[in-house]
């Protein structure tokens, strides 16, 4: 082997190593370490004064444990606290969640189809002539536009679309173009899904045992994500569409507002129980706490679904990276 080729090979391997290892700069690590050490010292001192494992329970915890059965007929104090004693706090958190969902929906909103012409291209003619007199689109732009149209489903992709990879022989090199996963995964998920869905609903319905709307909603999101992962986007887009789940989310929020305000109307206090209490250890034993929990299931389940699927559905930006500039160059002009 000649000396040159050796040098080339070592250069290539060095480049590969650089690519593999982290070459991102750290900014003022010493200052950061100093500040973090200060915070750590302050927090460490604070932690030394925190109640340890032998301390008595705080007053609110003892109060909640004592009233859980007599006043709410709930044997699960955590649910009693979430939807009863600290119901107002949960009420506020619900709207924090709703605010986050609305922000994600607004930020990830795809390009909307035009509804009409309102003269913006004519209004910018003079500036267009001044700064870019020849706006003919080049090959790169046409390529990006056609990729975008293909992604939005306006135009059939080149080649036959493959729905499942079942017919693909093992060891076929990437890229994998099929939407769904193999028959093994699909069948496994078909078996697991009803069990998971029922478990999620059980967590909410049996409110006298640990569970409630928050974990139940997270389980529902898990069920939908499994369907998405195994069967592909097209199958689930019939269920996960903004026209269906966004009204559901708002209906959940409306139900929560109604539940809490009816306490004010009937019992004179916000989030008071206005429903008759069923005996202990029955699904309706929590009164209004159970209604709140069910509404929270709708709110959290649809809210997290909207958020996660909005992120998954964020369309690509198909324009090419600028060739001349180094990676991470300035803003796109």
């Amino acid at each position: 082997m000649t000396r040159t080729s050796l040098r080339e090979r070592s250069a290539v391997s060095h480049a590969a190593a650089r690519e593999a290892t982290e070459c991102e700069p750290r900014h003022r690590p010493w200052l950061g370490a100093l500040l973090v050490a200060g915070v750590a010292a302050a927090l460490g001192v604070a932690m030394a004064g925190m109640p340890r494992e032998h301390a008595t329970l705080p007053l609110i915890a003892r109060y909640a444990l004592e009233i859980a059965i007599p006043r709410w007929k709930l044997t699960e104090p955590v649910n009693e606290i979430v939807y009863g004693t600290r119901g107002f706090d949960t009420f506020g958190e619900t709207f924090l969640l709703l605010a986050a969902v609305v922000s994600v929906v607004v930020i990830t909103r795809p390009r909307e189809p035009r509804r009409g012409y309102f003269g913006e291209s004519a209004a910018g003619t003079r500036e267009q002539q001044q700064y870019d007199p020849d706006p003919a689109s080049d090959a790169a732009e046409q390529e990006a536009r056609s990729a975008e149209r293909r992604e939005q489903g306006e135009q059939a992709p080149s080649g036959e679309p493959v729905e499942t990879p079942d017919a693909t022989p093992l060891g076929t090199p990437a890229p994998e173009t099929a939407e769904a996963m193999t028959v093994v995964v699909r069948n496994a998920i078909r078996v697991v899904l009803p069990i998971l869905a029922v478990a999620g609903l059980y967590l909410v319905a049996w409110g006298f045992s640990p569970g409630g709307g928050f974990p139940g909603g997270a389980v529902i999101l898990g069920v939908l994500l499994l369907v998405y992962a195994s069967y592909g986007r097209r199958k689930i887009s019939k269920v996960i569409r903004p026209g269906l789940i966004e009204p559901l989310e708002l209906a959940g929020a409306g139900l929560i507002i109604m539940t809490e305000f009816l306490g004010l109307a009937f019992k004179g206090s916000f989030s008071a129980n206005w429903l008759p209490l069923a005996p202990v250890l029955t699904p309706l034993s929590g009164g209004v706490a159970q209604l709140f929990s069910a509404a929270e299931l709708i709110e959290v389940g649809t809210g997290l679904t909207i958020v996660v699927f909005a992120l998954l559905g964020m369309s690509h930006d198909w324009a090419r990276d600028d060739q001349g500039e180094p990676r991470g160059g300035g803003p796109k002009r």
Partner: protein, 122 residues
């Protein structure tokens, strides 16, 4: 010793803070924030722990104990578990907000480097 848990939570928080202070990659900043968030979950669950306690469920208390006794120290603190339960869900939604902002920034500026993201430039 539950103090070990508290100090682990502090360590996790500090790792997240260090990432936040010294890195400029937006994805890493979001990861640092998530780590700080996770440290508070650990802290709250550890704070709820009581030595020799049971879960705060009043049905079928352990032999020789009544529900009244449970309320006086032999049970984990349910209020802090409540905080944790809601905080996890809110945390997921807030992380999603961060990530969607990061995706939009990456699409607009073609970089994830927070130093290069300056709206007033050119």
């Amino acid at each position: 010793m539950i103090l070990g848990n508290y100090l682990t939570a502090v360590a996790l928080f500090c790792v997240g803070l260090y990432v936040l202070l010294t890195r400029r990659n937006l994805i890493k900043i979001v990861m640092g924030l998530s780590l700080m968030e996770a440290s508070t979950y650990l802290f709250m669950v550890s704070l709820a722990y009581r030595a020799g306690s049971t879960a705060p469920v009043l049905v079928g208390p352990p032999a020789g104990k009544t529900a009244k006794q449970l309320a006086h120290g032999n049970v984990a603190d349910p209020v802090l578990q409540n905080f944790c339960l809601t905080a996890v869900v809110i945390g997921v939604a807030v992380t999603a907000v961060f990530l969607s902002v990061v995706v939009r920034i990456a699409q607009h500026y073609r970089t994830l480097d927070a130093d290069k993201v300056r709206a007033m430039r050119g």
